[in-house]
């Protein structure tokens, strides 16, 4: 027996102690930091006269650019939270673009969106059958779905669009009507009222005009589809973390063996989660075909399915994180479209942020990170001072490079669902 009471310290917290940030972002810290970052952006805008940085047109375009990526990210999230890797999101989005374009042309945009969801869900179900019933490797099934979707859509286009006005093997005829947009009254001049936000924005005042610009982006010309899509973020969070179904879906991704010993049946949960995943991806595709443009075009998805996966990863498998990551990319895309001249000015912003982080690292005596951040800051400053226009291919590669950088530096700190991607046969011991 223990003659001496050995005092053991409680287990020292691992480096990657999951803070509340991992599960409920929105703690005081994050809000303060976000606010500060915004003020800084406003400052840079004022100083460099780069109106596009916070203009309502940029924000408006950003919203439309963010949503497909965000939906793809949510699709990945639903799948991986259930323990299944879904590389096939791109393919499911493609299904969504096609079915959305086709149905919108035939029956109107709302039916289009619904059919897009259905098309994507079918893809999700196929993945589910392969992975859950036949135990196919998750990655292989996903890649196969991408290849299949890509090939099949062209075939379907040949059947449905060739010979129709405006259609062809790689695009559909335009949709019969568009989803209505909102202009908020008073704030954005909806219904012939004064456009308060627009006025404020035009003044160019530091911070006030910036806030007006950002809010204006939401208040002007906002599509109902965007509103619906954005509500899916809190809805996902609520379902996954506050309902029985969500808890069990997550258990399927964290510890399916343990869940089974408690009587939870894993297979139906995965089928459900993957259908939802496919549906979300399909909705993202439908959005591209119906809102971002007005018809289906081959290649419309442009790897957004994979960018969505990326946002899921550095959003730490969290819906708010997905939204944050997606809006980062959406903002970049929008800036490139609306005001490419403003892009180099963004580098001043980045330089300042890098500088601040450098100071913080130096104060903590973390020299290696400080050196990296300092160099980056100087590089950004140089770009700001010397470059007039950033070549488009380089801005287009930013999402991908960023993903690699985040993965390379933070793999230890990210928390993916514990059983993600691992094969699971019912009845297997833990």
């Amino acid at each position: 027996m223990s003659d001496t009471l050995i005092h053991t310290d409680p287990a020292p917290q691992p480096e990657s102690k999951p803070t509340l940030l991992d599960r409920l972002p929105g703690s005081n810290n994050t809000i303060l930091i976000a606010a500060f970052l915004f003020v800084l952006l406003a400052f840079v805008r004022t100083v460099t006269d780069a109106d596009a940085l916070t203009s309502s047109s940029t924000v408006g375009v950003a919203i439309r650019a963010t949503i497909p990526i965000m939906l793809a990210g949510l699709a990945g999230l639903w799948a991986e939270r259930a323990g299944v890797i879904n590389i096939g999101i791109e393919g499911m989005m493609i299904l969504g673009t096609w079915f959305g374009g086709w149905a919108a042309w035939q029956w109107g945009p709302w039916v289009g969106l619904i059919m897009a969801v259905v098309g994507g869900s079918i893809g999700g179900l196929v993945h589910a059958v392969a992975v859950v019933r036949f135990n196919v490797d998750h990655i292989i099934s996903g890649v196969a779905i991408n290849i299949l979707a890509f090939g099949a859509m062209r075939f379907l286009s040949e059947l449905a669009f060739v010979g129709e006005q405006g259609g062809g093997i790689s695009q559909s005829p335009p949709q019969s009507s568009a989803i209505p947009r909102i202009n908020l009254p008073f704030l954005a001049g909806g219904g012939d009222t004064t456009d308060i936000l627009g006025n404020l924005e035009d003044r160019g005042w530091f911070l006030i005009s910036d806030i007006a610009g950002v809010l204006g982006g939401f208040a002007h010309n906002l599509s109902w589809a965007s509103v619906i899509a954005l509500t899916l973020v809190p809805l996902t969070g609520w379902i996954l973390w506050r309902t029985v179904f969500g808890l069990r879906v997550r258990s399927s991704g964290e510890a399916p063996g343990a869940a089974e010993t408690l009587g939870v049946r894993i297979a139906p949960l995965r089928y459900a989660a993957l259908s939802i995943s496919g549906g979300l991806a399909g909705l993202g595709g439908g959005y591209l075909a119906i809102i971002s443009s007005s018809f289906y075009r081959e290649g419309q998805t442009a790897s957004r399915g994979f960018i969505g996966l990326a946002t899921m990863i550095f959003g730490n498998w969290n819906p708010i994180g997905v939204l944050g990551g997606a809006s980062l990319f959406g903002f970049g895309e929008a800036l490139n479209l609306v005001g490419p001249a403003a892009l180099p000015k963004l580098f001043l912003y980045l330089a300042i942020v890098a500088g601040l982080v450098f100071v913080r690292s130096a104060m903590r005596r973390r020299w290696v990170p400080a050196a990296v951040q300092g160099t980056l800051g100087v590089a950004c400053l140089v770009v700001f001072l010397t470059v007039d226009k950033i070549p488009e291919p380089l801005t287009k590669s930013v999402p991908f490079v960023l993903t690699l950088v985040v993965l390379a530096s933070a793999t230890q700190r990210l928390r993916m669902p514990a059983h993600d991607g691992k094969p699971f046969r019912s009845g297997e011991d833990h």
Partner: protein
């Protein structure tokens, strides 16, 4: 304590293909007591508890819970009867909170929503009344081992368990956590629960149980009260009173020290738990078999990993005069280190591959088999056929995928593969596990032959018969340390049993 019987197991028999795991098992557990079941590895304790928990059905026998005869078809039935099992390997979702882990599968709801408030209320009730306290909002990943165990206990209490089965609960706990656990168990029992726990640590068993049942070779040997016995006698019950004598050897132990292990530790510090291997030192001479006795899970695996060069270890490992402490595994093997692994499926074999490909796995540096970096298939096949023949591996051919062979035959191939490579030092972990009796003695003969020819062997086994049949010297590992060294002639069941279960003479 009442006189009612919470659990009665009568005449239980359980078979698996080729193995009789339990036969003629009779246990009566009084309500409101802590009842311990002790026995060695493979004695059949876990199998028995799985029967009680409904994880499988016995071939013969009756299970009676609280006076009612039961016929469990699955753990859910057992749970309904008020039985809860806390496994040795916890089944928890690290990234979930304690509450989420406990309520999963039996969630309190408010419509479609999770009613976490109600869950926490109920859990707090249970926690206070049982004295088993854990931070309900903590992430399991942040919890220490003792706390995780409490979560597992709460899991079964939440589902209304009145009879708790704990499988080797103290295997992973530090002494302070063990004390806390026993306090909790006593509290539970005072509230009317019944606890059955499986262990091989006799000192703990003596300290906390009201009754002890000993199981050996699949059957119940005796049931005693702690007051009527002592550790030495228990050890003898566990291990049997007769041990075979080893065969006398005709050759001498060599002078050369082939393997010298000095102050090796694995897994010390870091997560605050116990180190798996704690400052172990010994040496093995040419022509000597050093037997390492001990119940599985006391550091033997990690020790082998350290010697092989596959784990982070401190201390020195000197192999035939070469200091290989920081050399990679491949180099050590090239110098003549061979290994018969603990788990042939995870560590030793590629199940989908043929026998000859499996032979090649640890022999690909042999210039006869792989000249100039190319595989000479004919040579490998011939060598495999020879090994198959010498070790009596029952297989249709050397090209059959090895998953088609029985476990025993797979093991024979493994042993042959390593011995036939002409090693200088052999680490042999239960070399005859799963092998039939005839082949077992033939393998023992081969080991002795090799030893006589100069091989140095570190034999790790919990099978005392094997240990005594082969060893020239014996050390015992418990809790990561070497706590005894003796010669086979001095090894009595009580002595070995005592050391293996952490006691002192």
């Amino acid at each position: 304590m009442s006189d009612d019987l919470a659990v009665e197991l009568i005449g239980i028999e359980k078979r698996f293909p080729g193995v009789i795991a339990n036969h003629d098992v009779n246990i009566s557990v009084t309500s409101g007591t802590i009842h311990a079941i002790v026995g060695e590895n493979g004695a059949g304790k876990s199998t028995l508890m799985k029967t009680l928990y409904g994880m499988h059905r016995p071939e013969k026998g009756r299970v009676i819970v609280n006076g009612t005869e039961q016929n469990f078809k699955s753990p859910s039935d057992a749970i309904d009867a008020g039985i809860g099992m806390v496994h040795q390997h916890f089944m928890l979702a690290d990234n979930f909170t304690v509450t989420e882990n406990i309520i999963l599968g039996a969630e309190p709801t408010n419509g479609v929503r999770l009613d976490l408030k109600a869950a926490k209320r109920r859990l707090t009730e249970i926690a206070t009344s049982s004295g088993i306290e854990v931070d309900l909002d903590a992430l399991v990943a942040d919890l220490g081992v003792g706390q995780r165990q409490r979560v597992e206990i709460l899991k079964v209490l939440y589902r209304g368990a009145k009879i708790l089965i704990l499988d080797e609960p103290t295997a992973v706990l530090v002494p302070q956590e063990v004390d806390e656990l026993f306090e909790n168990l006593k509290q539970l029992v005072a509230d009317g629960a019944t606890v059955i726990f499986i262990s091989h640590k006799l000192d703990e068993v003596m300290a906390v149980s009201d009754e002890i049942t000993v199981i050996r070779a699949g059957t119940t040997v005796t049931t005693v009260l702690p007051s009527e016995t002592d550790q030495k006698q228990l050890a003898e019950y566990m291990v049997g009173s007769e041990l075979p004598a080893g065969e006398p050897r005709t050759t001498e132990i060599g002078d050369a020290v082939r393997l010298d292990v000095n102050g090796v530790s694995v897994g010390a510090g870091g997560d605050g738990g116990r180190p798996a291997v704690d400052d172990v030192s010994f040496s093995v001479h040419a022509g000597e078999i050093l037997g390492v006795a001990g119940v599985e899970g006391n550091g033997q695996f990690e020790l082998c990993q350290a010697i092989l060069g596959l784990a982070d270890a401190t201390g020195s490992v000197i192999f035939d005069g070469h200091d290989v402490s920081s050399r990679p595994a491949r180099e050590r093997q090239d110098l003549g280190l061979a290994y018969i692994p603990f788990d042939r499926h995870t560590e030793g074999l590629m199940l989908d591959s043929s026998l000859w490909e499996n032979l090649l796995l640890t022999r690909d540096n042999d210039p006869e088999l792989c000249p100039h970096g190319f595989v000479d298939q004919a040579a490998v096949r011939a060598a495999t056929v020879a090994t198959i023949s010498r070790y009596d591996v029952m297989t249709p051919s050397e090209t059959v995928p090895i998953y088609a062979l029985s476990g025993g035959n797979q093991q024979k191939l493994l042993v042959g593969r390593e011995l036939d490579s002409g090693p200088t030092v052999l680490l042999a972990a239960h070399p005859t596990r799963g092998v039939d009796v005839g082949a077992q003695s033939s393998i023992w003969d081969k080991l002795r032959e090799a030893r006589d020819a100069g091989l140095a062997v570190l034999l790790i086994t919990a099978d005392l018969e094997e240990l005594l049949a082969l060893s020239d010297r014996i050390i015992v590992m418990f809790d990561g340390k070497v706590n005894a060294e003796l010669s086979p002639s001095d090894a009595t069941p009580e002595l070995l049993g005592t050391y293996m279960t952490g006691g002192a003479v």
